[in-house]
C-alpha cells in the first residue's frame, strides 16, 4: 500500500527508456511540423502564464487592498480559495491532457504493470497546473505573508494549498478516464460551480466566507496540512488502483464499442451508386463520435450568432457583419464538417479509389450532402423571416453562396489535405486531421464574399452588393458541370498524394 506513495523508480533506466521513446515519437511523427508549431505556442503560453502567476504572487496584495482598502487581504484571499479550488478541479478535468503512454505496447514486455502505472502517474505530475500554485505562493509568502503571519503559518498555509491542488490532480486523472462522458461531467461541474456562486451571492449561504474562516482555522491549527496529506494519499492510491485495474486491453484501453441502433437511410439505396455514397456519408456522420460531435458543436454555435443578429445596431446586424453572419449561419455544416472533407474517408480511402463506382459519383455525393445540410439550415432559418422579413434576402444570399461557390472551394482545396483522421476518437480538443489547410480555407471561404461585397459597401450600394453575391451563387449553380470537370481533374491529380498521406498512421 505504501508503495504507491513513493513515486520513485528503482530503475532509472526505465525512465530513460520511456523518455527516449517520447522524444523519438515527437521528432519522428508524421505531423512534426504541426507539433513543433503547437509546442512552440504551448511553450510561449507556459512562459506567459508563469509570469502571470508570479506577478499575482507579488502584487495581489496591492490589487486587493486597492479595491477594498479597509479589508483584511488574507481573509479575502481565503474566501477566494474556495472558488480557486473549484475552478482548479474543473480546469483539470476538462482541459488537462494526461501524458500519453501507449500501454498496450508495453503490457507484454518484462516491465511490471505496477511500475508502468507508477511511471504514468509520475509523468503526469509535470504540468503547469501543478506548478501554478508554487509560482504564486512563493512570491506571495516572501512579499507579504511571512511578514504578516510568520514562517509557520505561511508554510502550513502554502503546503495545504499545494497538497490539496495535487490531490485534485490525481482525482482528475481518475475522472479523466471517463473520457466518453467528459462533456456530461464537464457540464455537471460547470453547473455545480454556477449553483455554488448563485447560492453564495443571492441566497446568503456564504459558502466562500465560511470556507475562508475554516481555512484560516485549519491553517493555524495545522489540521489543514493533515487533511491535505490524507487527501493526497487517498487520491494517489485511488488513481493508482484504478489505473492498475484498467490497464487491460478490454478495460480502459479498449476503443469505444457501441451496440446502439443507428438510422439506416435505406431509402437512399434506390438512387444508384450516388445514393450509396450519400448513404455512406450520412452513416459516417451518425455512427462516429468525431464527425457527430463536430456537427453538434456547429449547431450549438447557432444560438450565439442569432443572439448577435437580433442585437440591433451591433456590428453583426448590418454591413459586413451581416454578410459574414448569413454566410456563416447557412454554412455551419460546411465550415465544421467539410473542413475535414476527404479526411473523414481516410481510413478506407483505398476502397474509395478502387471501388466499383466512378470518382465523379464520389465527388458528387460530397456535394449533394453539403447541399442537403445547407438546405436544412435554410429551412430552419426561414420561419425566422416571418418576424424579421428584412433578413430573408440575406439568408437566400448565404444559401446560394454556400452551395454555388463555397462548396466548390472546399471540394477543390481539400484535395490538398493529407491528414488521416481516426474516426473513433472524440472531438473535444482533438486536432487530428488539422493542418495549415484549415486556416488557409478561411481566406477564400470568408474573404471572397467580403471582397465581392466591399466595393458596393464603400460606394453606399449595399443592396447591389447583396444581389451581386446572389448572382455569384447562381452563376456557380449554372456552371456546375464545367466546374465539376475542374474539380474532378484536380481530385485525380491529387489522389495519389492524398492516399499516401491517409495511409500514414
Amino acid at each position: 500500500m505504501f508503495e504507491a506513495l513513493i513515486l520513485q523508480f528503482s530503475f532509472p533506466a526505465m525512465m530513460k527508456m520511456f523518455l527516449t521513446l517520447s522524444w523519438k515519437n515527437f521528432w519522428r511523427s508524421v505531423s512534426l511540423g504541426k507539433n513543433l508549431l503547437v509546442n512552440l505556442m504551448k511553450g510561449f503560453m507556459f512562459v506567459y502564464l508563469s509570469f502571470v502567476f508570479i506577478f499575482f504572487g507579488f502584487f495581489i496584495v496591492k490589487l486587493i487592498s486597492g479595491t477594498n482598502p479597509d479589508s483584511n487581504v488574507l481573509e479575502i484571499l481565503n474566501q477566494y480559495l474556495f472558488y480557486y479550488f473549484l475552478v482548479d478541479l474543473l480546469v483539470r478535468v476538462l482541459f488537462v491532457a494526461t501524458p500519453k503512454l501507449d500501454l498496450p505496447v508495453f503490457l507484454c514486455l518484462p516491465i511490471p504493470r505496477r511500475k508502468l502505472v507508477k511511471y504514468y502517474l509520475f509523468r503526469s505530475v509535470f504540468n503547469l497546473n501543478n506548478l501554478a500554485p508554487v509560482l504564486f505562493l512563493v512570491p506571495f509568502c516572501l512579499s507579504f505573508l511571512i511578514e504578516e503571519k510568520g514562517w509557520t503559518y505561511s508554510l502550513v498555509w502554502s503546503f495545504t494549498i499545494i497538497l490539496l491542488s495535487f490531490s485534485f490532480h490525481f482525482l482528475a486523472l481518475f475522472l479523466n478516464k471517463f473520457q466518453l462522458k467528459k462533456p456530461i461531467l464537464g457540464m455537471l461541474l460547470i453547473g455545480g460551480l454556477g449553483l455554488f456562486v448563485w447560492l453564495d451571492f443571492s441566497n446568503g449561504l456564504f459558502f466562500a466566507s465560511r470556507f475562508g474562516i475554516a481555512f484560516d482555522k485549519f491553517t493555524s491549527t495545522g489540521i489543514g496540512l493533515i487533511i491535505g496529506v490524507i487527501m493526497l494519499f487517498f487520491t494517489i492510491q485511488g488513481s493508482f488502483r484504478f489505473l492498475i485495474k484498467n490497464s487491460y486491453l478490454d478495460k480502459g484501453l479498449s476503443s469505444e464499442k457501441r451496440k446502439i441502433q443507428f438510422p439506416e437511410f435505406s431509402f437512399l439505396g434506390r438512387f444508384g451508386s450516388l445514393g450509396q455514397m450519400i448513404k455512406l456519408d450520412l452513416n459516417l456522420i451518425f455512427r462516429n463520435s468525431r464527425p457527430r460531435s463536430t456537427l453538434i458543436f456547429g449547431v450549438l454555435l447557432i444560438p450565439f450568432f442569432f443572439y448577435n443578429f437580433l442585437n440591433q445596431g451591433s456590428f453583426w446586424s448590418e454591413g459586413f457583419g451581416l454578410i459574414f453572419m448569413s454566410v456563416f449561419l447557412l454554412g455551419v455544416f460546411q465550415l465544421n464538417y467539410n473542413q475535414y472533407l476527404f479526411s473523414w474517408d481516410s481510413s478506407y480511402f483505398d476502397f474509395i479509389l478502387s471501388g466499383s463506382f466512378k470518382t465523379s459519383d464520389y465527388l458528387m455525393s460530397k456535394y449533394v450532402v453539403t447541399v442537403f445540410f445547407t438546405s436544412i439550415a435554410f429551412l430552419f432559418m426561414a420561419p425566422f423571416c416571418f418576424f424579421y422579413p428584412q433578413f430573408l434576402q440575406y439568408f437566400i444570399m448565404g444559401y446560394l453562396l454556400n452551395i454555388g461557390v463555397i462548396a466548390y472551394i472546399y471540394l477543390f482545396i481539400m484535395t490538398y489535405n493529407r491528414k488521416r483522421i481516426d474516426l473513433a476518437k472524440g472531438a473535444l480538443f482533438n486536432y487530428e486531421g488539422s493542418g495549415y489547410i484549415q486556416y488557409l480555407l478561411a481566406v477564400p471561404v470568408l474573404g471572397l464574399p467580403f471582397l465581392i461585397y466591399a466595393p458596393f459597401y464603400f460606394l453606399g450600394k449595399e443592396q447591389a452588393g447583396v444581389y451581386t453575391l446572389m448572382a455569384f451563387g447562381i452563376a456557380g449553380l449554372i456552371l456546375h458541370k464545367p466546374i465539376f470537370k475542374i474539380l474532378l481533374k484536380q481530385f485525380k491529380n491529387q489522389k495519389y498524394k492524398m492516399a499516401a498521406g491517409f495511409r500514414k498512421k
Binding site: 457501441r258 439505396g269 445514393g275 450509396q276 455512427r287 478506407y348 466499383s356 470518382t359 491517409f502
Partner: protein, 234 residues
C-alpha cells in the same frame, strides 16, 4: 487481361519495382510470391491505380488504369483493412457493394448463403460493426467483398493470412472454383508456398522489385519453390 509495360516505381533513388513486360491472360490464376519488401503489394497497388508509377503503363482489357475507370467495374479487390468501411456492419458493407455492382438484394443473400460456411455467423451478429470483428473475420469480409458481383478480375493480397486452417482450405476451393467455372482471372499473393502451388496456374516470383521467375505450375512446383526460397536462409 492485364498488360504491364516498362513499369517503374521508385522510392527516392531506389527501385521498388521494375517490370519490363508482364502479361496476365484472361482466366489465368496468377500467383505472386516474394520475400518481404519484394514489391508484391506495390505491384497490386499500381494495378489498382492507388499509387502512381514513375514510368510505364498498366492496362486492364486494353485500357490504361491510370486514365480510365472502366476497370473498376470488372475488378474485385482486397489488399488490406483500408478497403473496409469499419463503421458499417458486414451485411451493410456487402449490401452497399452489391448495390454498387448491380447485384440485387436477393442475389446477394443467395451469394452469402453459398459462402456461409466460409463466412461463419459471427460477422452477422446484429449491431456488430466491422471495427468490432476479429482480424480473421475482417479478412473474410474483405475477401467476400471482392467476390460480390462476379468480377472478371479478383486481386487479393495475402488472403490466407489471419484465416483459420478450415477457412484457408475453403478459400482455396472457392478460388479454384471461381477460376474453373467462371473463368475469373485471379491475382493472389501469399507466403504460403503450398497454397500458392495448389491455387495458381502460373507463379511469378519478385525479388527486389524484379521478376526473377515466371513459370506455369506442375507437380514439381512446390519442391522448386521450397528450394528457391531456402537459398535465402543463410
Amino acid at each position: 487481361m492485364i498488360i504491364i509495360k516498362d513499369l517503374q516505381k521508385k522510392q527516392g533513388r531506389y527501385f521498388q519495382l521494375s517490370i519490363e513486360h508482364l502479361q496476365i491472360n484472361q482466366g489465368e490464376s496468377f500467383g505472386l510470391l516474394g520475400n518481404n519488401g519484394a514489391g508484391k503489394t506495390t505491384l497490386f497497388r499500381l494495378i489498382l491505380d492507388l499509387i502512381e508509377s514513375n514510368s510505364g503503363t498498366i492496362s486492364i482489357q486494353g485500357k490504361p488504369v491510370h486514365t480510365t475507370e472502366d476497370w473498376k467495374f470488372i475488378t474485385g479487390s482486397f489488399l488490406d483493412e483500408s478497403f473496409l468501411i469499419d463503421y458499417l456492419s458486414a451485411l451493410e458493407y456487402f449490401e452497399m457493394l452489391g448495390k454498387l455492382k448491380g447485384v440485387s438484394k436477393e442475389k446477394l443473400l443467395e451469394l452469402i448463403e453459398t459462402y456461409r460456411s466460409f463466412l461463419g455467423d459471427d460477422m452477422f451478429v446484429k449491431g456488430k460493426f466491422i471495427r468490432d470483428l476479429s482480424k480473421g473475420n475482417k479478412s473474410k469480409v474483405g475477401i467476400f467483398s471482392a467476390i460480390i458481383g462476379t468480377p472478371k478480375l479478383i486481386i487479393l493480397d495475402e488472403p490466407f493470412a489471419n484465416l483459420d486452417p478450415s477457412s484457408q482450405i475453403k478459400l482455396k476451393e472457392i478460388l479454384k472454383k471461381k477460376q474453373r467455372e467462371e473463368g475469373t482471372t485471379l491475382l493472389i499473393s501469399s507466403h504460403d508456398l503450398k497454397h500458392m502451388s495448389e491455387v495458381s496456374s502460373r507463379i511469378v516470383i519478385l525479388h527486389n522489385g524484379e521478376i526473377v521467375k515466371d513459370e506455369n505450375t506442375n507437380e514439381n512446383t512446390l519442391k522448386e519453390l521450397e528450394t528457391y526460397f531456402a537459398k535465402f536462409v543463410d
